[in-house]
Amino acid sequence: MRIFDPHIHMTSRTTDDYEAMRAAGVRAVVEPAFWLGQPRTAPATFRDYFDSLLGWEPFRAAQYGIAHHCTIALNPKEANDPRCLPVLDELPRWLVKDRVVAVGEIGYDAMTPAEDKALAAQLQLAADHGLPALVHTPHRDKLAGLRRTLDAVRESALGTERVLLDHLNETTVEEAKDSGCWLGFSVYPDTKMDEARMVALLKAYGPERVLVNSAADWGRSDPLKTRKVGDLMLAEGFSEDDVDRVLWRNPVEFYGMSGRLVLDVAATAPTHEGNSVLRGGE
């Protein structure tokens, strides 16, 4: 089983996770820029974060045979902080970079006017840079949040076929599917979706335009949830081809719209036998 986790925050994970992910079949990941669990207070810390998403983290991933790409954005939560807002003006410098395969995560958190502005501006940036957009749906007031998100997308220059709506669930899947957007589901130990509910949704709505991710980060989460969904799909009667479609071909097709996916890790791995994540001396 080859797996592409289209949403995982590897910066917060250990090399043990990389090793286990590789063993489970994960060959590619996309790491969306997001909130770090603690608010940032200045654009400079975003710059360092973006740099690590384009430097150290892909290097670390390559040590384990995993192709690492990222999405770049000012996340909705921090779009509410005027100290962070200037990051918006600096985004174009990163959006031209290789390995940046979408604008994201953008979307709504508390559905404030500041979030409206940041979302509209960044949907436009995606259109300007030939990138698709990863738009998450809010944790609170999710259905209203989805509808407001879809309004923003329809008012933007970006077509719905270039938008991935993430963190969907039973209450939002139908309207999201009708919109023509790609459908993202985050499978978590407690919250969001679990494996059984995910497979039930796949049975009800089919595998077309569906992406499954672990969204693993610094909170309670599991970077192997993608594999667990694949296993349950097979146990529940889906074909290997269905699994490959959901866990590999759909994310490749969506992020491939950027023209920047390089899935051959060997081509990007260090020329030299790198073991520096082992800290040397091992």
Partner: protein, 195 residues
């Protein structure tokens, strides 16, 4: 070490690179918030493909002839791949020691690609003795082959302090029950030579 070239670049990518080189040569440090050649440097990977990206970036840098400020900017705002190209281009771009902060930055990372590029001819020419010894030791620590270290034999020859550092490191490895890297003996051999 053979340098990558753009000789076998396919047609569309070659046309893109030719255009990028012309733009870089014409207006190196102007046009809006981001100079065109800096954009081309950023997107060279997807335009030319991973196998040719580094060679293409080095040619764009050579055509743009950035001053020290512009070079530092594209390094510090670059991805690991862009930084790699800047480090490789340094010996041909910067005659004096002005770009040493870039090399020192790369030597502080743990990215073996950057480390290998940082210990090239520019470091051999300009890095002070203390910094150079630590760079060599870091190569041994992180598994970067010392073949990457430019002018290794010449700079190491007769360096008693380097020899001491290498012997201490070998003793530390042995005490821990670990093998001493073959490269360490090679460097030690040079360091033990009479000047």
């Amino acid at each position: 070490m053979s340098r990558p070239t753009t000789d076998d670049l396919p047609g569309a990518a070659r046309a893109w690179l030719d255009q990028a080189l012309a733009e870089a040569a014409a207006r190196p440090n102007s046009q809006g918030p981001i100079s065109v050649w800096e954009l081309r440097l950023a997107e060279a990977g997807r335009r030319c493909g991973p196998a040719h990206a580094e060679a293409a970036r080095i040619r764009i840098l050579a055509a743009a002839r950035p001053d020290a400020t512009a070079l530092a900017r594209v390094y510090f705002q670059g991805t690991a791949e862009e930084r790699l190209a800047v480090l490789r281009a340094l010996p041909d771009l910067v005659p004096g020691p002005d770009a040493l902060p870039l090399v020192e930055d790369a030597l502080r990372t743990n990215d073996t690609r950057l480390l290998a590029a940082a210990v090239g001819p520019y470091a051999a020419r300009h890095l002070d003795r203390h910094g150079w010894r630590h760079a060599v030791l870091k190569c041994l620590f992180t598994g970067v082959p010392v073949d990457a270290v430019a002018d290794l034999a010449e700079r190491a020859r007769g360096d008693g302090e380097l020899a001491r550092m290498l012997r201490d490191y070998a003793a530390e490895r042995t005490a821990a029950g670990r093998a001493v890297p073959e490269d360490l003996h090679r460097v030690l051999h040079h360091a033990d030579q009479e000047v």
